[in-house]
């Protein structure tokens, strides 16, 4: 009792808002972490050729170089030299064969980054070149497949063609995309007592780092602790591919028994890491006279790069989204993951979905061209309605595809926009406008069903402050802000009391990566469950304190305790102290798994998604036909956020996704030379949208009265779906080009750079 009286209750304002720290420059990223005494710096030595045998590898000069403390390669690995997640086909360091330019061979560790880099330049090596493949179709021909081909099928495609009035076929290319997270990949590894390692990593998948480090170092997972405060952008690029750098740092730290920091310089990051998968695809679409799509066949050749990474899962999502927002009764879609000699391509916002959607939208565009109608006529006629089937067997329930599309017509006056564009074009010769509509339907859940789980650990301290740990990683998507709101509502207390702690494998075990737009959903539900447990306990304590028999008479609302609906004098702070004094646990842990989802990978049927997100965008562009340059005038969106938890966050995700999607479709171009060397490996050559490039106007309408029973607080996931509105930019631009050159030969090939535009206008 004496001890208790010393605990003071006080006004708490922890200022735990990420955005406030960001604007003050107080948020710490990997490169900002205060380092232990004697920390060393790593620099990666990698393959200069796309495919070949390592014939000589001589580190002797490098080892003698100033400040060098060690050079580590495959032979220094105490455990397995294996980092593959889905398929064990990827080494941490190349052994006898290198498979792409940028394939890590060794890590040099020195007393400074410059000394480490100096030493890397002194490594002597010789390679025997082997034939290299960069084209996925060529890889497929040689049966260089990562996994066997996958096919989704519904209806009877063979019989369907005969009832079609129009059948259109074509081939189509979509380029890769560099993530260009502003914070490059990085980690700090610190040896801890008992032969363990603590890794501070900028990863979306803390457990992947932990599991892989344990595997490579031959340690039990409990000896590896991974801590993630935040990421300076992820977008999928740090789901699987933050792992190697963390594990390399861990290896060196473990071997030298000293802390090692490995942060990739920008150009090294772009050269060594995977990006969005380039795809090459074929389609065949069949429609009746009315524009109803009766049959759709597509083959996707995914350029997977040199190892599996997440490619098989990404391949699946291409198939899941190959029909976008449309019901098509007869579909056969086949996807091949093709092994090439490029860095392993990886997750990137949309996870294969955008590549699938670009193909169906191109098919619709081409069909519309042949039928002499606007693509939006076909789009509108085929939108998903209640009870339709997706090609993977899931029933469509509570779809908002039509609602969003109709609101584009009414709220944003689609017809007037089209009229104005036509009028503008009739008055201008060298400048043309184009407009296009882009509906989006995106399934929410990891399609790998077991990943749909998360847990939360909620502590209430005796001063009434709350600390929450979950598996969610904050990377700018605002998951911390959302989780705080969810926790505050669940406990019915002020947000000021709540801090969302770092993501740490010692506090939360077996985390699924923060990906698939599911961070807030899974972890939010886990928080709700944990808070329920705590609230139940607190109500019991209050019932006892307020001398009532049943805790069902107790309510906690806005930090006030009610008995039988009457406000009491018991404060929340007092209640917490009382609970502690009564030896009631103020900690709760809860685990959540998404209910009722399943998928049979043999039949490719099931219910893989908890729900779907819908929306429609209308995109307008102005094209300078003399110079081939363009400016997007506006993107107007009606989007289904469910009941939005945080409108500022959700709006930001939508606007940011649109900009990134337009970048992918137009300006962001990965160019490899004939040797497999990336030429656009710096910000001076790989261009992402800047403040001038983005649409002059982005208007986002939150679809009203659409609560989502499958999301926390009726919300919907938001991270990925808006990215695909960017696809509309491609077709708006194509329309502007056709306004200038009506007989334009249409070749579906993204990105539609100013170069491609100009060359096709004057070919």
């Amino acid at each position: 009792m004496n001890y208790l009286s010393q605990i003071q209750t006080r006004e708490i304002d922890l200022s735990n808002t990420d955005s406030i720290r960001h604007v003050r420059g107080e948020s710490l990223f990997i490169d900002d972490v205060t380092l232990p005494e004697g920390v060393l710096y790593g620099y990666v030595y990698y393959s200069p050729i796309a495919h070949g045998k390592i014939q000589k590898l001589d580190f002797s000069s490098a080892l003698k170089s100033e400040g060098v403390k060690g050079v580590f390669s495959a032979k220094d690995i105490p455990g397995e030299n294996q980092i593959g997640g889905i398929v064990p086909d990827e080494n941490l360091f190349a052994e006898d064969t290198v498979h792409f330019i940028g394939h890590p061979i060794a890590l040099v560790v020195a007393d400074s980054l410059i000394h480490a880099h100096d030493a890397v330049k002194k490594i002597k090596s010789e390679f025997k070149k082997l034939p290299a493949i960069f084209d996925p179709r060529q890889a497929a021909k040689k049966n260089e497949l990562i996994v066997p081909p996958r096919t989704f099928e519904i209806g009877n495609i063979e019989n369907a063609w005969s009832s079609c009035d129009y059948i259109v076929e074509d081939s189509i290319e979509s380029g890769g995309q560099e993530h260009l997270y502003l914070e490059t990949q990085g980690s700090v590894a610190i040896p801890i007592e008992g032969g363990g390692i603590k890794i501070i990593s900028a990863t979306q998948g803390p457990t992947a780092v932990q599991r892989t480090a344990a595997r490579v170092l031959a340690l039990p997972m409990h000896k590896v602790e991974v801590d993630v405060a935040r990421l300076g952008g992820g977008f999928g690029g740090k789901e699987d591919q933050a792992t190697p750098w963390a594990v390399m740092a861990a290896l060196a730290a473990y071997k030298l028994n000293v802390a090692v920091k490995l942060v990739l310089p920008r150009q090294e990051d772009i050269r060594m890491t995977g990006k969005r998968h380039p795809y090459s695809s074929d389609f065949k679409i069949g429609l009746n006279k009315e524009g109803k799509i009766l049959a759709y066949q597509a083959t996707f050749y995914q350029n997977a790069g040199a190892a599996a990474d997440l490619s098989p899962a990404i391949l699946d999502r291409t198939l899941f989204h190959c029909t976008n927002s449309y019901f098509i009764p007869n579909v056969r879609a086949t996807a091949l993951s093709c092994r090439t000699n490029l860095p392993p391509f990886t997750a990137f916002r949309g996870f294969g979905g955008p590549q699938g959607m670009f193909v169906i939208e191109s098919a619709i565009y081409k069909a519309a061209q042949i039928m002499g109608i606007d693509p939006s006529v076909i789009q509108k006629k085929n939108l998903l309605i209640e009870g339709d089937d997706f090609p993977y067997g899931q029933k469509v329930i509570q779809p908002h595809a039509e609602k969003c599309f109709y609101e584009i017509e009414t709220r944003f006056n689609k017809n007037e926009i089209y009229r104005n564009v036509k009028e503008f074009n009739s008055e201008n010769k060298l400048v043309k406008k184009g407009v296009a509509v882009m509906p989006v339907c995106f399934g929410i859940s990891f399609t790998t069903t077991f990943l749909n789980q998360a847990s939360a650990l909620v502590h209430i301290y005796t001063d009434g402050s709350v600390n929450i740990s979950t598996a969610a990683v904050e990377m700018g998507q605002g998951v911390n802000a959302k989780l705080r709101i969810i926790a505050a509502k669940s406990l019915s207390i002020s947000e000021k009391r709540i801090k969302i702690d770092s993501t740490n494998t010692s506090r939360i075990s077996n985390t699924s990566p923060t990906a698939a737009s599911k961070g807030a959903d899974l972890n939010g539900f886990a928080i709700i469950d944990a808070c329920k447990i705590l609230t139940e306990r607190l109500r019991k304590v209050a019932a006892e304190e307020l001398k009532t028999d049943s805790h069902s008479q107790i309510e906690i609302q806005d930090e006030t305790i009610y008995k039988d609906g009457e406000k009491t004098d018991l404060t929340f702070d007092q209640l917490i102290l009382t609970a502690y004094r009564n030896r009631i646990s103020l900690t709760a842990q809860a685990h959540h798994s998404t209910p009722d989802i399943y998928f049979d990978t043999k039949t490719n049927k099931g219910k893989p998604f908890a729900y779907h997100v819908y929306g429609t965008a209308i995109v307008e562009v102005t094209l300078d036909c003399l110079r081939g340059t363009y400016q997007f005038d506006s993107v107007k969106v009606v989007h289904d956020f469910g009941g939005s938890i945080d409108k500022v966050v959700d709006l930001g995700q939508t606007e940011g996704g649109i900009a990134q999607g337009i970048g992918w479709m137009t300006m962001e171009e990965l160019i490899w030379n004939g040797e497999g060397k990336l030429l656009t490996d710096a910000l001076s050559t790989y261009k992402v949208p800047d403040v001038h490039f983005v649409p002059k106007e982005i208007k986002v309408h939150f679809l009203e009265n659409v609560p989502n029973p499958f999301g926390p607080l009726n919300s919907k996931a938001v991270g990925e779906p808006p990215f695909m509105y960017g696809i509309g930019a491609y077709f708006a631009l194509l329309n502007a080009m056709r306004a200038f050159k009506p007989d334009l030969e249409i070749k579906f090939s993204a990105p539609l750079t100013p170069e491609k535009v100009l060359l096709s206008l004057y070919s």
Binding site: G25, F29, I114, G232, F235
Partner: protein
């Protein structure tokens, strides 16, 4: 000894003068808000403000601290986000929070610095200029929408309050855009002596915006001389019928020169396309010339102005016509010990026409695929003087001699233009690279020559259009 004020602290340091300012701020001073994003001046995560005394006030410029040698910080006020933060959020910070202008937070300090720089330098808010001030900052998360809203919102505070304040700075201090210590900075800076410039070493650094991209690891261990603070190399002046620009004049100074803006109506717009404001604040015309990049924008403009390069070696001076200055890829008619003292060109006659065109994958903050400038005088309806340059289509910044020769004495009409464009094709030898295929660059130059004339003589030129049939 290098002395400067970092935020509110006086810094005296004897680190090597080539030390990268960003590294000094982060590693020596442990101020980690300023980030390393690319080390090539292309992302702006490392943006800081550099304040310099002019009269009784300090003028602030945004720069990329990843490309700035610490030597050039001497007697300057260097401002990072830590140095603008008060106990409460500044109106800019608050607006960025409220409007969703920050997501992952990595680029955010750079944005806050650039935005603060805008308000320090402008007493009247114009959204376009405010947006230009963040043209050098890349954000991968927000799509910039929230950031643009934040600029507008910060202006509401700025324009709404403090009209009774005596000076612009007082108004900003009253509204908490910057802390109180800014008030004493002019006085404090004046007490710091300048470092005399000298040219003795092999390597001479002016702005450093390219050298620090190419070889910063080498430079930070080298002995070099700095000339960007040399007053003798500064200035843009009109003497008789010539205009002379000092070799160390920055691109931003050239852009903002009222002398040049009066002569060339769209001068300011051309230079908006050159790098970004932080780059232009450091990059110099002399650097742009010696760098010898085939697509150098300023060189492109100067070629069409038939400029002359003034070289100096100790006391010996020499002049070379810019169009004869380039001998081959990155080879110059310049001895190792010569520096570019100035560049000069004739004041245009009364009946002149000028235009600059630049096409790059991204319109702003990008390197040209092809650029071209034209200078033209008409006498009695005929072309009497003409100079056209073309960048990105040869190993050197190109002067299109044959095309110019053809155009002389011709009258401006569609046929002349089409022929000139096709003659230009015989003078060029573009190669395929990350900025475009050779085929594209050829086509681009043709289009840019068309564009020059369409822009300058819209009534006289009717370009053939593929097919004007209206599509349904």
């Amino acid at each position: 000894m290098i002395k400067f004020i970092l935020n509110d602290q006086l810094v005296e340091t004897s680190v090597l003068p080539t030390t990268v300012l960003l590294d000094f701020i982060r590693k020596e001073k442990k101020l980690t808000a300023t980030k390393e994003g690319c080390r090539e001046g292309d992302c702006g995560a490392c943006t800081v403000l550099v304040g310099e005394v002019t009269g009784n006030r300090v003028k602030y410029k945004s720069v990329n601290s990843c490309l700035m040698p610490i030597s050039d910080a001497n007697a300057k006020h260097i401002v990072t986000v830590e140095g603008v933060s008060n106990s409460v959020l500044t109106p800019i910070q608050e607006a960025m929070v409220d409007e969703g202008g920050t997501q992952c937070g990595f680029c955010t300090p750079g944005f806050i610095v650039s935005m603060t720089g805008y308000f320090l330098n402008h007493d009247k808010f114009e959204i376009d200029k405010a947006v230009d001030s963040i043209g050098g900052n890349i954000c991968r998360c927000t799509g910039y929408a929230g950031i643009k809203r934040a600029l507008e919102k910060a202006n509401v505070t700025f324009s709404g309050n403090g009209s009774q304040a005596k000076t612009h700075l007082e108004k900003l201090i009253t509204n908490k855009f910057v802390p109180q210590y800014f008030r004493d900075i002019p006085k404090r800076l004046k007490q710091i002596p300048a470092i005399p410039t000298k040219v003795k070493s092999k390597v001479v650094i002016a702005g450093g915006t390219d050298l620090y991209v190419q070889k910063w690891e080498e430079l930070v261990r080298s002995n070099v001389d700095f000339i960007s603070a040399d007053e003798k190399l500064k200035g843009i002046v009109k003497t008789k019928n010539r205009i002379r620009i000092g070799g160390a004049a920055t691109i931003e100074e050239i852009k903002n020169s009222s002398l040049l803006q009066r002569i060339f109506p769209h001068w300011d717009e051309y230079f908006n396309l050159f790098g970004s404001m932080p780059i232009r604040n450091r990059a110099t015309v002399g650097g742009n010339i010696v760098n010898a990049s085939p697509i150098a924008d300023t060189v492109n403009i100067l070629l069409a102005l038939d400029a002359v390069v003034h070289l100096r070696n100790g006391k010996k001076n020499r002049e070379v016509a810019l169009k004869n200055f380039y001998k081959g890829y990155k080879t110059l008619d310049k001895k190792p010990d010569e520096i570019i003292e100035a560049v000069s060109f004739n004041v245009p006659s009364k009946n002149f026409f000028f235009n600059f065109e630049k096409i790059s994958k991204r319109t702003f903050l990008d390197i040209a695929s092809v650029n071209s400038s034209i200078y033209l005088e008409l006498t009695k309806g005929k072309i009497s003087v003409v100079h056209i340059s073309a960048g990105g289509v040869a190993p050197v910044p190109l002067y299109l001699a044959k095309t110019c020769k053809f155009l002389k004495t011709k009258s401006v009409n569609t046929e002349t233009v089409l022929t000139a464009a096709s003659i230009s094709q015989t003078e060029i030898s573009p190669i395929s690279d990350a900025r475009g295929s050779a085929e594209y660059k050829r086509l681009l130059l043709r289009q840019l020559i068309y564009a020059h004339f369409v822009k300058l003589f819209p009534e006289q030129i009717e370009l053939p259009v593929p097919n004007t049939n209206e599509r349904d």
